[in-house]
């Protein structure tokens, strides 16, 4: 019945200073968030207006959708809250565009500016032996950094777990911090167990991907954070994760049921993979799309740069604003779906290379770095980078994760591993835990057939399904922001 009552909140216009344009990078390219924020502000100063493309659907289409929505309510047994495109109002209908660009700036809710947040980075010394295992040029990641935003008085605390390869300062994590801080929470931002810093400084076996093991590592980090911040007046603990971090959140919550350090009040999973193997298969496959205009003299990256340069030459100036993006994708130079998929796939492949290299280096497996190879601050890592670039997620799992899992857990087949690391392993727990909720998108690129069905059966009315958004592209949309906060308020 929730479907019929759910309405799209008329958005409050986001103030320019507060609206972080950061989310683009983010998780995707993991480059700095700040520059994007700055560019956004600059863009707005120039007086650009984001065009909210109206959903050009006819009246009949509208009626049809209403009827469908009603049917969903009265006939389909699954009680997940489905939201129609009409109600939802999210303008990006292309899942690849949504994944890369996320929400247009003026459709984001107002959140506190960075300067208005009392926040600092802290470091944890969790694995002192890594100072001896890691070569000297990795001194920066022998301790794990996290970011804490403090409220002035007692408040509930929320832990945020970042997505694949993303650090605590990734754009989406930063975005969630602002959202929760504005709503009165203390916020702790954590790197993903698959990120470079976490593998090096906090991961016991430095071979991420085995979800129960990753959850134990995360749990130790959270306990260490709590110990380091023992003065912080916390009224309750909460947990949120997006992308792979959402899967981690579920496993952490399960672990907390027995260890009881936090007794999480609410746990929210945003765009989790359901079957981890399906998701990494999808991501690995994205770099296999047919991309045109490539020959022996030019590469995919060059094609993208060339398009940008040509666009700039036509315009005569670099004007980074939403109008420019709209304009670019409507020009003859626009990227095809295949090119966007390739771009997304490339970002994930770069993450896979980082994971494969770091895990191999720390465990001295000799697959990428010869075990006794001398490395100091002047050593070129380029040959290893090249070798790591050849390894996709599937290669990492086959060459590093499975052998370790077999040796340690007496593991068996790939199917068995997939069962243990995916949400299937937690099905009963998730079904019977009212404190856990999930939000997902109908067009998320990391899902496969049947995944949403599994979530519907398992979560029932604790699931919200949005019709659009790609992979986490709508996490900063005002409707999602409202729903996220509502979930934690309830």
């Amino acid at each position: 019945m929730r479907t019929s009552t759910r309405t799209v909140t008329p958005g409050t216009a986001s103030s320019p200073e507060n609206a972080p344009a950061k989310t683009i990078e983010i998780d995707m390219a993991r480059c700095g968030d700040q520059p994007l924020g700055a560019a956004c502000v600059a863009a707005r100063k120039r007086g650009s207006a984001t065009t909210n493309v109206s959903l050009s659907s006819s009246l009949t289409m509208r009626m049809l959708l209403c009827v469908t929505a009603l049917l969903t309510v009265f006939i389909v047994p699954a009680q997940a809250a489905d939201i129609s495109v009409e109600q939802y109002g999210y303008p990006l209908s292309n899942p690849f565009e949504a994944t890369i660009a996320t929400t247009p700036v003026d459709l984001r809710p107002a959140v506190p500016a960075d300067e208005d947040i009392d926040q600092a980075d802290y470091r944890l010394r969790l694995r002192p032996e890594r100072e001896f295992i890691l070569p000297e040029n990795f001194w920066a990641v022998t301790r794990l950094t996290y970011r804490l935003a403090k409220q002035p008085g007692p408040a509930p605390l929320v832990f945020i777990i970042s997505g694949t390869g993303a650090s605590y300062s990734a754009g989406k994590t930063e975005w969630l911090k602002r959202l929760f801080y504005g709503a009165g929470y203390h916020v702790v931002q954590l790197s993903s167990p698959t990120s470079f810093d976490f593998i090096a400084a906090a991961s016991r076996y430095a071979t991420p991907g085995y979800s129960p093991g990753d959850a134990k590592d995360l749990y130790r980090v959270m306990q260490a954070v709590r110990a380091q911040q023992h003065d912080l007046p916390v009224t309750s603990f909460n947990l949120i994760g997006y992308s792979l971090g959402a899967l981690d959140a579920a496993f952490v919550s399960k672990l907390d049921e027995t260890r009881q350090s936090f007794n999480f009040r609410r746990v929210l999973m945003v765009n989790p993979p359901v079957n981890l193997y399906t998701s990494i298969g999808n991501l690995d496959k994205l770099v296999q799309t047919e991309v045109e205009a490539i020959d022996s003299t030019t590469t995919f990256y060059e094609v993208i740069f060339e398009k940008l340069a040509r666009y700039y030459r036509q315009k005569g100036t670099i004007n980074l604003d939403e109008a420019m993006l709209l304009d670019f994708q409507q020009s003859a130079l626009r990227l095809t779906d295949e090119q966007m998929a390739m771009l997304i796939g490339s970002v994930f492949r770069l993450s896979a290379a980082d994971i494969a290299f770091t895990s191999d280096l720390i465990n001295r497996r000799g697959l990428i770095v010869p075990p006794k190879y001398p490395i100091d601050e002047g050593t070129s890592l380029e040959p290893f980078f090249r070798r790591a670039l050849l390894c996709d997620f599937d290669c990492y799992i086959t060459e590093q994760l499975i052998p370790m899992w077999r040796a340690q857990q007496d593991g068996g087949s790939m199917a068995q591993l997939v069962q243990q690391v995916s949400l299937y392993a937690l099905e009963d727990y998730l079904r019977t835990s009212p404190k856990i909720g999930v939000m997902h998108n109908a067009d998320d690129i990391i899902l496969g057939a049947g995944d949403l069905g599994f979530l519907r059966r398992t979560f029932g009315d604790r699931m919200t399904l949005y019709p659009r958004g790609g992979h986490c592209g709508n996490i900063n949309y005002r409707v999602n922001a409202h729903d996220i906060l509502e979930f934690f308020r309830g």
Partner: protein, 256 residues
């Protein structure tokens, strides 16, 4: 700075064009990957090829550059960032904005000079107008009324001018404290510095030559306005990635 230019690359794919509406299955899933055309054998190596090509940047002094990179990393963590934190602690926001505007206004001089050198007349006029409005109406550049009047801020440096006339970038170079550069751009920086001192607008150069404080403030402001953080890419291959992005971003700036 280079990071700023990474933005377009990541942003450019955004738009709201041609939605091919996919029909959801019984779970409501729209199978987004089905709308893509895949290479039939799934054996394309374009990602690898493109990434390998991106690593081919002339870097004969790599070992030295890497050491300098780590030196800068430490300098940043232990000196520059604490200085910026102190600066933020002791000054209100409008003062910091004023300081940034002031130094940015000074930076218009090399931009003007280089726009002229590249025969970009319109840009030179725009920069002259900015310089005049901001200096006179903006009280010596503390405010930036020109941007509000619709005159965009451009940045042209002598490295770009050299590039404009076809000078290759030369070996990649990591400069102490200043970070990624190359032989051409480092030469350009020296030239721009010379221009600023020659013009000696406001007797700033003279004052700062005498007063260590002004130069220090300029450095702190530079760090304050540069959003890049070491370790931000969170990758063991940050050096290589920064090198590529810097080099490509400069090429784009030159072409612009």
């Amino acid at each position: 700075m280079a990071r700023r230019l990474l933005l377009p690359l990541l942003l450019l794919a955004s738009s709201m064009a041609n939605a091919q509406t996919s029909v959801p299955d019984e779970d409501g899933f729209t199978h987004p990957l089905r709308r893509l055309e895949f290479n039939p054998g799934l054996d394309q190596h374009e990602f690898e090829r493109a990434s390998f090509a991106a690593l081919d940047i002339y870097d004969p002094w790599e070992s030295l550059n890497r050491r300098m990179y780590y030196f800068n990393y430490r300098l940043d963590q232990w000196v520059m960032l604490p200085a910026v934190r102190g600066y933020k602690y002791v000054t209100p926001k409008f003062v910091r904005t004023g300081v940034s505007n002031f130094f940015s206004n000074l930076g218009e001089i090399p931009t003007l000079f280089n726009s002229l050198a590249q025969l970009k007349g319109e840009r030179a006029m725009n920069t002259t107008a900015r310089l005049l409005f901001n200096t006179i109406l903006g009280v010596g550049g503390l405010w930036d009324p020109a941007s509000r009047m619709g005159l965009p801020h451009y940045k042209e440096d002598f490295g770009q001018t050299l590039g404009f006339y076809g000078v290759p970038h030369g070996p990649y170079l990591v400069l102490p404290a200043l970070g990624p550069s190359n032989l051409r751009d480092a030469t350009g920086q020296v030239a721009d510095f010379g221009v600023e001192r020659q013009v000696d607008y406001f007797s700033y150069a003279e004052a700062s030559g005498g007063e260590f404080g002004l130069t220090a403030l300029r450095l702190v402001d530079l760090r304050y306005t540069t959003p890049l953080r070491y370790g931000q890419l969170n990758s063991p291959f940050e050096y290589e990635k920064v090198r590529y992005v810097y080099t490509r971003a400069r090429e784009l700036q030159i072409e612009e």
